[in-house]
């Protein structure tokens, strides 16, 4: 079987509300109330997902080694958004205006980014709260951008969610 290639194969959307983060529905992900982010963010400096976990080192009385176990997971979510010249296109800047905006980031890998979500798609769902948007320094020959950090809430997060039909 072929490898899962990365180019243009990530569909990323922002959804204000999802009822069940383990089984988002097609209607929730494809409604007019979602924002397709795939072409609004740079591939560089994109991070979304678990980035590590604490190590709990509490060996038993009978242990001869420094046995440890995995503790709390740390999630990381940050990306650089392009600014656009018209208000109608500058959707990310208008949506992520300040810290405290909640919602869900839903990502699908391995299929064309412009292919709509369908039932049985495997997706990663992250419940997030925005941090303060950070305007980036201008780069010669580059586009204006702002960096948006999202604070992931583990209770509404599932990295192996399956899209439900309804």
């Amino acid at each position: 079987m072929p490898r899962m290639l990365a180019d243009a194969q990530r569909r990323l959307v922002y959804v204000p509300v999802i009822a069940n983060s383990s089984a988002p529905t097609v209607a929730e992900l494809e409604a007019t109330g979602t924002l397709l982010l795939s072409c609004l963010v740079t591939a560089a400096d994109f991070s979304l997902g678990a980035s590590g976990e604490d190590s709990v080192s509490e060996p038993a009385l009978c242990a001869t080694g420094n046995d440890s176990t995995p503790g709390r997971v740390t999630y990381e979510a940050g990306m650089n958004f392009y600014r656009w010249t018209t208000a109608e296109e500058d959707k990310a800047w208008a949506t992520f205006t300040e810290k405290g905006v909640g919602g869900f980031l839903v990502q699908r890998m391995g299929q064309a980014f412009d292919e709509p979500f369908a039932a049985a798609d495997e997706v990663q769902v992250y419940q997030v709260i925005t941090g303060t948007p950070m305007i980036q320094s201008p780069v010669a020959g580059g586009a204006e951008k702002f960096r948006q950090m999202f604070y992931v809430q583990s209770a509404g997060t599932d990295e192996r969610a399956i899209v439900a039909a309804a």
């Binding site: 204000p16 509300v17 009822a19 409604a31 007019t32 109330g33 979602t34 924002l35 959707k91 208008a94 949506t95 992520f96 205006t97 300040e98 405290g100 905006v101 909640g102 919602g103």
Partner: protein, 67 residues
């Protein structure tokens, strides 16, 4: 004037969320909650300088209570 967060609800499911007021046009499935409409009406009678911060706090506070 700084952007304002407002409480909204999904037209079909009724589930609530907090969105930037400037983003509402991109999310036609969501409308302001009754409470938010009431806040907006109250805001119209306040001084312009004091209103935005008060409303944002109220929207976040209402959202946190429901969550």
């Amino acid at each position: 004037m700084p952007p304002r967060l407002v409480q909204v609800r999904h037209k079909v499911t009724g589930r609530k969320a907090v969105l930037a007021e400037t983003a509402l046009r991109f999310f036609p499935d969501y409308v302001k909650t009754t409470r938010q409409e009431r806040l907006d009406r109250a805001r119209a009678t306040k001084t312009p300088a004091a209103a935005p911060a008060d409303d944002t706090k109220a929207a976040l506070s209402a959202s946190q209570k429901e969550n």
